[in-house]
């Protein structure tokens, strides 16, 4: 037990800087994932075959490529193409765009949960399609999919560890923990604290989503 606390005390700067890197990575990726995911979901349910297809291509591309491969393409691949992309930009873009595909699919299922009659009613009342989406469909769709989004965000927090472990090599929580582990050889103790760090983030996300669910969910 004393060793457990000793490792934390001695290496708190490494752990906290790693946690901070992971937090920023996750926060920025989440913004991208939500914005892009919503746009793609809108494309997929739009009343135009071509828009549907564009959304479909996006989802299938980003959902069917392993995150690790996406990271290599976004960083090493883009740099080989002569564009000096920053590791942060590459990491955030890859994690954000990858998660966006899943969020788009979750939102799409939420949209389908809203009765078609409501959309027909809104359109026949003279609302434009984007307006119908924004005012009638999406508010209900988002509420329906809050539990699904919660799982996706937790998965994204854990996926962030892949960014650090990949060639993008950001000094995130896992990477800085591994660095401490290789210097101290106290593998069990170090990874215990790494797990606690990830738990801090995932539990916070869970609580935030529980609050959202209680406040906004459609009571059935």
């Amino acid at each position: 037990m004393t060793e457990l606390w000793g490792v934390l005390e001695e290496h708190l700067p490494e752990f906290s800087s790693g946690l901070w890197v992971t937090f920023r990575l996750v926060a920025a990726s989440l913004v991208i994932a939500v914005v892009v995911g919503t746009l793609i979901a809108a494309l997929r349910v739009a009343p135009s075959k071509w828009l549907n297809r564009i959304g479909g291509v996006y989802v299938e591309t980003f959902r069917n490529v392993p995150l690790l491969v996406l990271l290599i393409i976004m960083f090493a691949g883009v740099r080989r193409a002569g564009i000096a992309i920053d590791p942060w930009v590459a990491g955030i873009a890859a994690l954000g765009l990858y998660t966006a595909a899943y969020i788009a699919e979750a939102l799409r299922s939420g949209v389908f949960a809203v009765g078609k009659g409501q959309i027909d009613a809104a359109l026949s009342l003279g609302l434009t399609y984007p307006r119908t989406m924004r005012r009638i469909v999406l508010p209900q769709a988002v509420r329906t999919v809050i539990p699904a989004l919660s799982s996706l965000v937790i998965a994204m927090i854990k996926n962030s560890a892949i960014v650090g472990a990949s060639i993008v090599a950001l000094p995130d929580l896992l990477k800085s923990s591994r660095q401490v582990a290789s210097e101290t050889a106290q593998t069990n103790e170090v990874f215990f604290w790494a797990a606690v760090g990830y738990l801090l983030l995932t539990v916070t996300a869970t609580l935030a989503f529980r609050y959202l669910e209680q406040t906004y969910a459609i009571k059935r």
């Binding site: 740099r79 080989r80 591994r178 660095q179 290789s182």
Partner: protein, 301 residues
């Protein structure tokens, strides 16, 4: 989905079975090809020693690098692992009359793999340090590398001091993780799992320099001549075989094998094959003269 005719199912199932059996026979082939070497007289060790257990298993699991030419690398043409470390591993396995099985062991995972028994021995460009000696045992040194810095030929970096403020790549878990922090505290250290990733990063200008053992860096220069070594030789890195902690008999056996490897000229032969022919004659070296005890003092706790 509509009803598919039943014959389609049968065709599919047959195809999958055929694929599976193909995969299985492919594995079987691997085992056969290597056993046709001439039987050499080998000493049989008692069953309760590590050597005896390896002999009973018929194979020795050796952890080597798969991405570090010229010490351990997966040759895409032959599909096999080759290099200086690999040849030494093969030599030691021959002393027991068993087949070597090479498993990938990089700087970060090699000690855990040895400790949990996945591999019997580490031969993965591993510098002897007191810290590592706490967890495992080392053989006598079998090679001495030097720390150096690799930069693009048009780089302004010329000294260790120049690394400050620049992005420097090395492997997670290597001695350089701490050496660079000491020598150039303001360097922006980029730690990756594999040295091949450092090569990728310096080729795409994502880091300004790579620092590690000169032999590893030489392997990179052989692959890419737009890179060069600074020739700083700022550390001395004696490599030892990593062995399970406290297994004195096994250590004695490996030490003896390495000594024999040096004495019968195999060391020099392999050195020429993997290192000597690529570097200037005045930079070439002979077998290590340093002892394990002296080596441990180079990287104290």
């Amino acid at each position: 989905m509509e009803n598919r005719p039943r014959w389609m199912l049968i065709v599919l199932a047959t195809a999958m079975l055929a694929l599976a059996s193909l995969a299985l026979t492919a594995c079987g082939d691997d085992d056969e090809t290597s056993s046709d070497e001439a039987e050499v007289e080998v000493e049989q060790y008692p069953a309760d020693t590590t050597m005896g257990k390896i002999q009973e298993a018929g194979e020795m699991n050796i952890g080597v690098k798969f991405d570090v030419p010229p010490f351990g690398f997966n040759n895409p043409q032959s599909g096999e692992v080759e290099g200086f470390d690999v040849d030494l591993g093969r030599y030691i396995a021959e002393q027991l009359g068993v087949e070597p099985v090479f498993r990938e062991a990089n700087s970060d995972n090699r000690i855990p793999l040895l400790v949990d028994g996945t591999i019997d021995m580490i031969l993965s460009t591993m510098t002897i340090t007191e810290e590592r000696d706490l967890e495992i045992d080392f053989s006598e040194p079998y090679y001495v590398a030097n720390g150096d810095v690799l930069v693009p030929t048009d780089s302004d970096i010329a000294t260790l001091d120049d690394l400050n403020g620049n992005r420097v790549c090395t492997a997670l878990g290597s001695t350089y993780q701490e050496t660079i922090k000491k020598e150039a505290p303001d360097a922006d250290l980029r730690l990756v799992d594999l040295y091949s990733q450092c090569l990728e990063l310096i080729q795409t200008d994502a880091v300004d320099a790579v620092s590690t053992d000169n032999v590893i860096l030489t392997g990179m220069v052989i692959q890419d001549d737009t890179l060069e070594l600074l020739g700083l030789n700022y550390t001395e890195e004696p490599y030892g075989a990593g062995l399970p902690d406290g297994d004195a008999e096994f250590k004695a056996f490996v030490d003896e094998s390495i000594q024999q490897y040096i004495d019968d000229g195999t060391w020099e032969e392999n050195y020429e094959t993997w290192v000597g022919q690529y570097i200037e004659e005045d930079q070439q070296q002979g077998p290590p003269e340093i002892t394990l005890e002296e080596a441990l003092k180079l990287f104290p706790l």
